[in-house]
Symmetry: D5
Subunit: 100 residues, 10 copies
């Protein structure tokens, strides 16, 4: 099942920019892992904001929640999950098979 | 350039369900054309609503506007375009190359 | 998977109260079918409004969408689906097993 | 009487994660007590957020308020109570009898 | 139990002012009945609007819903019910005893 | 003249719970005084929140403002005053005479 | 007592522009009467909208409501009344004495 | 040109009440100066809030901005400027001539 | 003085597309006149919507209002005027001098 | 491609006014550079607020994001990017050629 997820960095990171650099590197690595597992399919920045839109893939909301909570920046972000159903006019799934 | 587009059928279609059936078929055909041109990349339904989220691809906002306005259901929908910038943690572009 | 669904009758039913009585009876029957299939688990009225909150159960958002669209009053309602993940402090699933 | 209650952790817990772990364990125990009393009937996580939806059961709003205020995390949460009336199409009460 | 209820006339009354005059007279009579039953305790106009705030009294949300739905103008109004719990600093109940 | 007033504790009380206990006791006493003067007529809690709805009585908005500002918790609250006009279907004034 | 009132023409005037011209002339005359009574003190247009902000003067919300309801365009407008209290830094009342 | 301006004290004043008393006295003096220049025409409190509505007069938005920024409490307030156009039914300008 | 103006076609044009074509041509001509007078400086479409953002130039809000109201599509649009003050970091005025 | 961008200083600058003065000077210099590159075309203040509207020019959302993030005040601001498409009634591009 695919989900559209909006994430925005809304809370101050105590420890300032140094800590943020560390967290961002951890976030990069964790995102890489989630991509390789086919959980994180696409990720875009919202221009001008510390926010992103992403297409995520999980077998249930529980799985999705666990994946999102595993992000190092989780505690600093406001996140909204938009559930998605398949559309008859959908061109092609993102990754043949993985999209279902 | 990729865009996230939300569309919802909010206006009444005069002519009732018969006309809606005709319009939906035209919408299906038009969506197919836009997919083949690589303009419409993905489309999902919002569960429980006559609305959809889509990933669109165009070289400019002008091109995107023209593509959206060409949809037979355009006049009956409320539409919001979310601009997207690429993200360093983006797993892979939708279509190698087309994503840029 | 369980979903929390809010539904409100926001559009005028052409044909006035006579048609509404017919539609409501069909809605009652369809709700009964969905209950027997274990899709509709609970349903409450919002006091003072023509709206309801419900707990629905489906294996995917596609299944949920199809169930909601099958409601006779679907075209007259504004509907919002809230995705749900299981909570470690959840007392007991609604129906032993069915809740998962 | 049943109520739909939304809770979100919106305030910072002074004392950081150590204190949060303690509070969460107390919250788990208190939730267990409320469940055993038939006050807390169901609890779901909102995927991606430190928030939950719950079905609560109390004889009055006073009773409900006292139960909610007794939660160890009460002071850190933003909470909304949605009143519920019974619906003729409601499949079956959560717990035979307790639901009324 | 007491409830705070907001009501606003938001839908057009087909049949224009003549029908509205008839409905308003029926509304007056029905309000009088509800007052005599101790269900409608207080009612104020929102200055400048076709809306009102009211204090209602019912043993459950079901009772409250039935009372509100019995208003002749029900189908033309948008209504919000605010649940109320008693407050330790509350001067005195509206009607000795009835307030509880 | 009567007013409907919504109050919510939204700002952190420096000095923590000890100071809050002191302030709450002062708030109780001040509320008692305002009740005896016929300024504060009714007060209810919003279940699940540190907020209340109240019916206040004053000869002008200036008088109302002075009464509200005199509350010890004033600086920690977000407050909205809803003006009220009398309604022809109002059952009875709260306190014979005082309501006008 | 002074009030800040926002009014916007939001409902369609059946009978189209001819009827609107008649109503506007009646509105002009009624406004003139209210000005002469010292009820309507100031009136400004919201640039680009069929809306206005006004400073009104009445001894109570009841009086204010009656004045507003007497406007020929009342049934076509959405109106919000903002209560006002006097401010110690207020330069001078609009009309010596009338402002209080 | 006249403007309707809403101001609310939304940010905490470091240095607590002592500093606030000093700032408020400076604000009073500055308001007096702006009144004498015919820039600040009227000022009302929002009952129950640390907020005000004001009618301001300036030859341009630049002039208005400079006047507002000169307020000692500027950095602690959230401010919204509503542009105003003259209305044919406006009784009389505030100050003969100055209103234009 | 410059203003940022948002306009959206939100009301149904009776007479359907034929009338809309006529109105749009009149709108084009009127826009051309306003441009030549230096009132309408820039105009952009909101991609995917029947809406536009524009930079307008007028000596007062009255002048701006009259210009906007002169648009043939005025009665079918929802319009918001954002007042603008000059910024020290503004690269260059649109039209040397005209920008002031 | 042109974009309409709204920016508001919403976060507290640690280090108070001294640091803000330094940051503002850096912001002025950076704005000057962006202007000279034809990226920042126009900039206006929102009267009464620490906010601005700007017209920006970039070949893609990525370019726009990088330009915005390069602003020294970026971390203290809440920013919204409004995508723009060209309008047939647009008088003239800002800078002949640069506007496209």
């Amino acid at each position: 099942m695919e989900f559209l997820v909006f994430m925005e960095l809304t809370k101050t990171i105590e420890g300032g920019s140094k800590k943020e650099v560390v967290l961002r590197e951890q976030e990069r690595l964790r995102s890489r892992q989630l991509s390789e597992k086919g959980v994180l399919l696409r990720l875009w920045r919202v221009p001008g904001r510390r926010a992103n839109w992403g297409i995520w893939n999980a077998n249930s909301c529980d799985e999705l929640h666990d994946a999102i909570v595993s992000l190092p920046l989780f505690h600093y972000m406001t996140i909204t999950v938009h559930p998605l159903a398949s559309h008859p006019n959908d061109p092609i799934p993102l990754y043949s098979g993985a999209g279902k």
